[in-house]
Symmetry: C2
Subunit: 184 residues, 2 copies
Amino acid sequence: MERGVTRISSSELSTGLGITASQIRQDLNNFGGFGHQGYGYNVDYLHDQIGEILGLTHAYPVIIVGAGNLGNALARYEGFKKRGFHIQALFDIDPKVIGSKTGEHIVRDMKGIEEYLKKKPAQIAMLTLTKSAAKEAADRLVKAGVPSILNFSSIDLAFPEENVIIENVHLSDFLMILSYQLEN
Amino acid sequence: MERGVTRISSSELSTGLGITASQIRQDLNNFGGFGHQGYGYNVDYLHDQIGEILGLTHAYPVIIVGAGNLGNALARYEGFKKRGFHIQALFDIDPKVIGSKTGEHIVRDMKGIEEYLKKKPAQIAMLTLTKSAAKEAADRLVKAGVPSILNFSSIDLAFPEENVIIENVHLSDFLMILSYQLEN
């Protein structure tokens, strides 16, 4: 789209994505197709349809819990807003950090998070607290009704009894993708 | 292993991983199997074998290029070392940051990176500079012989002509995994 391309084949997509054309067709067929044999894909239409699949047709209020280096980096990350992910507030438990400024946000006291969420419900919480503080914070977020958590702390979280979506991010995984390729 | 489990079935692994038992068996079979029907997997052996597949049998020297919030967070991230990823040095181009201390490292001047790499070759560079500075830095890293780059800057890098492994990380992808699940 950015390059003014209006129509694209699965093999052209393949070159850009590093996935086989047949895998691309198969993946998109799982969601209903969107292309036509011999024509390929209409880029605008495909972009809209993928956006709909991913739920990107509306904005998501996001909070960050943990205003250390990673929380700060996430608060300033430019890629989120254009996808509809709006950082609404940052929270921390550390008195040395509470009240400090991060980009356009003042770091709030975790003590007030339940009250804050009652007034301004968040759809997503990004959790960047240390291992020792992450579980308790996640419990509180789940209890306060946050429906999804992106967990960067180095402890795996799971709430099998609750109706909450947890995605545990392991930064080491990326390095292992590289070590695998370096080795093979 | 940490829980003292010595033997595990693919269905038990399935519960822990959220992947079907048949997918787990199929994936592991791609690398030669490691299990026995009716017995399952010997946990120690499986752990060693997966470590070997991922190339985790030796240490990898890693440098970080970009000592902003994300670079700092990565430098302090505790999960890397136990997998054998050793942060050796941090570099930046910003005079305000060069010379400052990050954990156990003093941020070095990017000007000296070629000379540094001649003496201490790195296997992996994590790139966290801003979009505008990332491409030039990556060019220099590739020219200096760094064989793999984990790119966190919000510009996709590719060196199709060079024998270098690039992994572009998009932090928004994690939020889209959540928005997809929230929507569906």
